[in-house]
């Protein structure tokens, strides 16, 4: 297990380098650096001034040296200043991160609470009315883009029923209801199907038939054996869907004016505030990689087949 953890951490290094390199290179492809942005609205500026500023910021150095410097800054939390507000990029990003993480956490929570029971019901009662109904709903949810879900919720809960404020004020729980629901609906629609498939897979195994033939009650089989063995798949699939959740937060946050990094990024992209976009892309990827790593380790720690196999070797 220790070896495995070490190996996984070592494997991370090239991926992290790749992520940072790609994010850095992308902003260069945009053909814009701090200088062009700095002097964009100042009219003609003498070449000497530009060159001096370039040297001061280290922009006259070769590409890889610049990347190295940027990477060092990334690790030490110095990601430059925003082109638009002039504020520290890393500080701005970190100050908005909790709101997004809260939203992501709430959506995952709602998703699990809704789709795990529904998925199990759907699998146990497969090809009956409950199953058809759940699959139908999941299908509808899968075909709706999240911005449409958001606007429909807004129309229903805020405008028609007047239960909630249309636009969130701050990041209170009442404002969190609609963004959370939007993200959770999209995520549950996919996840319910996967939970159902995982449980159904397990229910069709030979040992289940064996247990049934020995007269063990269906509920006991389900609780003690089937759910236990499909739990791992369920956890893994949840972690995979976090990727689309992180992307979805951007759209949902900007619709509901939720003050998180997603909205920050969308605003930054519209205003071509590249350092902020860079910070967003890099850190979102790092979070995603970290989530995947934790899931992988958890999977290894929880699955006796893998765990014991490792120890024997």
């Amino acid at each position: 297990m220790k070896n495995y953890i070490l190996k996984r951490f070592l494997q991370l290094i090239p991926v992290l380098l790749g992520i940072t390199f790609l994010s850095f290179a992308m902003m260069r492809i945009a053909g814009s650096d701090a200088i062009t942005e700095l002097y964009a609205d100042k009219g003609a500026v003498a070449q000497e001034i530009i060159d001096a500023k370039r040297a001061e910021l280290g922009l006259d150095k070769p590409f890889l040296v610049q990347y190295g410097a940027w990477l060092f800054g990334l690790i030490t939390g110095n990601m430059g200043t925003s082109y638009v507000s002039g504020k520290d990029v890393f500080g701005t990003f970190v100050s908005k991160l909790p709101a997004t993480l809260l939203l992501a956490f709430l959506s995952v929570l709602v998703t699990v609470l809704v789709s795990v029971p529904l998925g199990i019901i759907s699998a146990v009662r497969h090809d009956r009315i409950a199953d058809y109904l759940i699959r139908f709903l999941s299908f509808i949810g899968n075909s709706m883009p999240n911005f449409l879900v958001a606007l429909l919720l807004m129309r229903l809960l805020a405008i028609r029923l007047k239960w909630l404020p249309v636009i969130s004020n701050g990041t209170g729980l009442k404002s969190a209801v609609m963004p959370t629901l939007t993200l959770a609906i999209a995520m549950s629609a996919k996840y319910v199907r996967q939970v159902r498939a995982a449980v159904l897979d397990e229910l069709n195994r030979d040992y289940v038939i064996g247990m049934r033939s020995r007269g063990i009650r269906e509920g006991v089989i389900l609780k003690n054996s089937v759910l236990r063995s499909s739990l791992l798949t369920i956890i893994t699939l949840l972690a995979i869907s976090i990727g689309s959740l992180l992307g979805g937060t951007a759209i949902v946050e900007s619709i509901f004016m939720w003050d998180g990094v997603g909205k920050l990024a969308v605003d930054a992209i519209t205003m071509r505030d590249y350092p902020l976009v860079q910070a967003y892309v890099v850190w979102m990827a790092v979070i995603y990689v970290a989530v995947n790593l934790v899931t992988d380790l958890l999977y290894h720690a929880l699955d006796p087949r893998i765990r014991l196999g490792e120890e024997k070797r």
Binding site: S143, L148, V281
Partner: protein, 283 residues
């Protein structure tokens, strides 16, 4: 007993085929409508009529009019060009690139394989839409750039499928036989490997059309895809956000159009998968 099972299987196969046919025809009609949308519109989709702005759905304007009095039905029809045709184009591009890279990677193995697959890993390490947003933003929005951005995020998935399929086919005896018979590498790949692996790739592609449609609309919604006044469903919904209270049909018409088209293509994708692999039914 066995006769009954065979008959049940036959019936199931038949319903799958019927489903495939029905959704295939509907999807084809949608595609044709999107290609010939210019000839289908009842009014000029860009003609403004401010006196008749935000009119509710009526016999003259089935889906009502937007804030500039433009006919929503015509705009929805014209918008299908970008949304449906654009998504299909995107899926084609991604399938081509991904398959080419995957076959190359699986066939060459060794260093080429390692480099290509590490690249794929890096692209896969980004949460999809986050990366697509950044790429589209850097490239400056516009439909073409939105398609490039989504292609950049999606190709690794296809490359991985194509690679693993190539690896499993590569060592089979008939490939060795083809080599012995003097076939060139290109011929082996196009005549012997591609036909054997294309099935699962096409199924994945069919299942992805709906998702691609939604993501393309999502980028446009954020202002990173087709730009107004060009009619595109995502940007039309985004543009109409503020009218949610006063003229909900301006949101519902393009929103409903996305929903229905995604649903049709998802149903088609599911049918194709069930047809290709009966074991996956109802998953």
């Amino acid at each position: 007993m066995s006769e009954v099972t065979v008959r049940v299987q036959k019936i199931k196969k038949d319903t799958v085929r019927t489903r495939l046919l029905i959704f295939g025809v509907i999807a084809l009609l949608l595609l044709l409508a999107s290609i010939f949308s210019e000839h289908l519109v009842p009014c000029d989709p860009y003609l403004q009529d401010l006196a008749n702005a935000k009119a509710a759905p009526s016999a003259a304007h089935w889906f009502g009019t937007d804030r500039y009095g433009r006919d929503m039905l015509s705009r929805v029809i014209i918008g299908s060009r970008v949304s449906i045709f654009g998504a299909l184009l995107l899926v084609c591009i991604v399938t081509l690139i991904g398959t080419a890279v995957g076959i190359l990677s699986g066939w060459c193995s060794g260093k080429v394989d390692t480099v290509l697959m590490r690249m794929a890993d890096i692209f896969l390490a980004f949460p999809g839409l986050v990366f697509a947003m950044a790429v589209a933003g850097v490239l400056g929005g516009g439909l073409q750039n939105a398609i490039i951005a989504l292609a950049a995020v999606t190709w690794p998935k296809y490359a991985r499928i194509a690679r693993s399929q190539t690896l499993s086919v590569k060592e089979l005896p008939f490939i060795k036989a083809a080599k012995l018979a003097g076939c060139g590498t290109l011929q082996i790949i196009t005549r012997h490997i591609l036909p054997n692996i294309i099935g699962s790739i096409l199924v994945t592609a069919m299942l992805d059309i709906g998702t691609m449609m939604m993501e393309l609309a999502g980028l446009s919604f954020l202002g990173l895809g087709a730009k107004p006044p060009a009619a595109e469903w995502g940007s039309m919904v985004s543009d109409a956000r503020s009218l949610l209270t006063s003229a909900p049909w301006v949101v519902l018409a393009p929103g409903g159009a996305i929903f229905i088209s995604v649903m049709v293509f998802n149903l088609l994708g599911d049918s194709v998968r069930d047809y290709a692999d009966p074991k996956m039914r109802g998953r």
